[in-house]
Symmetry: C2
């Protein structure tokens, strides 16, 4: 993870939205013929970031929760006054698809401006058949109508709706939501919030197995609040990723390793919740896991769409080196979305998704924090920022 | 500190760089006559941020230290391989005034784009008569040649140069540097890095008393690494501010309160160093202190010029409310720079320094993090970003 293949004075030939040749600027000049030239001016060129864990589509914000949390109120206190996930579920259900798309487009623009060209996006603020489908269709339109590539994940198992028993909701998920979503091809992945008091290991297993039967790949919210067997379940089911892992111990890490599950680490939510229990990142890297870092963009616990901010958190709070963090935010993330062959690095044959940053050294992107360093962003060879 | 005077649908009349009238948009429209109209479009308008603690003028960066720290190396290990403050001192001494000004202008632009219109800036990477004067003159030119207002502070007592004994250097500070700086009017404040092993309480007292005699006001780097009497010294000398205070206890807080010293809190360096010992912010606010927050912008421990980032850190890590954080970053900071009557709030008679942010609610500036929300920035009524 710590080896970046950096080309000094490098260049690329781009043809029909793909990278045709990568090499030194001098070689490229000889080959390029009468191609249109984009001069990066000695700046650093990165592959477009791949953000492998977001909750991109929601309505409203959670400013009141934010203010209460700053005052020291607990999640339970905040929930009692109508905050927490239910406030976002309520607003998202009430929003029309047009409204929801407009808000997602605003946030999608933030991602692009931060240098992210692909995002995984989870449903999970609808929690009814109709509202989950509405959210997944908004993702589809975002994909079609903006340059941002959206990889949809069904997270109906985000929380149990208040008007249903857990068993009733699981039946709804397995018998109605999942078949409809699979039939309409609205999601590539299925995810579950596997946590004591939300979806325990057994119901999580049931939902994920049903999803797998329908052809969906698996991701799991695992061990965020407690070390509750999420990592082991991910290993057992050969999930593509296990996400969060703040409480995962050495057994969990060994399980992930044995099954080749990629950990997706989310320092933005640890930071924004004012906590300090970052996951055991160095142990995971030393175990040989292909670690991914992502924003966890969502209105409650991680209101940042910025992958450079996540690089800063990874290096300062999780002791990743800048090169490890960049690997985790690009090529490793691409593999975790089943797109390792088409995005995540600047190599011949891949999509020409890249950003130019106002830096002379790649490490500056993780070092200076809180300021935009984006110069321009290209998707399939076309400038979009 | 938690009371902001928010005007909904507000407006201002600006005349000759100053705020003439503040009120509701409707009233303003009636009065304004044929004035040029700037429509903020329902966005939030803030007073320009006042950043009361920065080390703005330096050469180079500390990317190698950053990478080593991410790998878990200690400050001592980093210093042994040529890192730490001495690498910045070496580069700053070697830089011409033209080079130094160019780098400061680049960073100054970052401040403006983040919505900061006034910065305090400390010397302290020269540590010779000539180099300290060079740095202070660069600040003067920055002030003259850019829209950013720079308030200069002499921090010759940042570290003891390696080729001198502490006593020799103190004599140089007191007998040569300070008189020249005072005579040439190159600094408004004098600061000392008061810390065991750097400048202990007794030498700090000597330097600060000499500065005060020459008409300089006082600031102190106090209790950052150890609770070593810095807050009490600030109180004894009636310093304007005591800065950092990560290790200050209840006695120190009481001392600051009794003498009316303003605490300047610097969460950026706690964050960027990967530490967790934020100062006792709530105790300070509850004691009635007029708390200030600032970036501590510097290449070693706080590479951020962004006051919105500091608002985020203040709310998530120090449990300040958004309104307290904004007060600390504007009007309280203005008073700490002896400019409470001219900047720091949007009131009739003050300079028309303000920013328009792409938000509908002022709390969004602290809530969404890692992304720029600046729409435009005005200094003395003129748009500069």
């Amino acid at each position: 993870m710590s080896e970046l293949a950096i080309i000094r004075d490098g260049g690329m030939v781009i043809r029909e939205g793909k990278i045709d040749i990568v090499g030194s600027s001098n070689e490229i000049k000889k080959i390029a013929g009468d191609a249109e030239v984009v001069d990066a001016g000695g700046r650093v060129v990165f592959p477009g970031f791949v953000d492998a864990h977001t909750h991109l589509v929601f309505a409203g914000n959670r400013l009141d929760d934010f203010e209460r949390r700053a005052r020291g109120e607990s999640y339970a206190q905040i929930a009692r006054v109508g905050g927490g996930i239910w406030s976002t579920v309520g607003k998202t259900r009430a929003a029309s698809d047009v409204d929801l798309l407009a808000q997602a487009k605003k946030h999608g623009e933030w991602f692009l401006r931060s240098g992210t060209t692909t995002v995984e996006a989870k449903s999970g603020y609808g929690l009814t058949v109709e509202d989950e489908l509405k959210i997944l269709r908004v993702m589809q339109r975002l994909n079609e109508e903006t340059p941002l590539e959206v990889v949809p994940t069904f997270l109906g198992a985000h929380a149990v709706p208040r008007n249903l028993e857990t068993d009733e909701y699981i039946a709804l998920l397995v018998d109605e939501m999942l078949p409809q979503i699979a039939r309409q091809n609205l999601a590539e992945f299925c995810d579950v919030f596997c946590e004591r008091g939300y979806f325990d290991v057994e119901p999580s297993r049931r939902i994920l197995k049903a999803a797998r039967k329908l052809g969906l790949r698996l991701r799991i919210h695992a061990d965020q609040l407690t070390n509750s067997g999420g990592a082991e379940l991910a290993a057992e089911l050969n999930a593509t990723t296990a996400d969060h892992l703040e409480k995962t111990d050495e057994q969990g890490i060994a399980a992930l390793k044995s099954a080749g599950v990629q950990p997706v680490l989310l320092p933005g939510s640890v930071y924004a919740l004012g906590l300090s229990d970052y996951p055991r990142t160095r142990e995971m890297i030393e175990a040989g896991l292909a670690v991914v870092i992502a924003t966890d963009f969502n209105p409650g616990s991680s209101p940042t769409p910025s992958m450079p901010m996540i690089l800063s958190l990874a290096c300062t709070q999780m002791k990743m080196s800048p090169s490890e963090a960049i690997t985790a935010a690009t090529i490793n993330a691409a593999y975790s979305l089943n797109r390792g062959n088409t995005i995540g690095s600047l190599e011949a044959g891949k999509l020409a998704n890249f950003s130019i940053f106002d830096c002379e050294d790649y490490r500056e992107l993780a070092y200076w924090f809180g300021i935009p360093q984006t110069h321009s962003v290209f998707v399939k060879g076309k400038r979009v920022v």
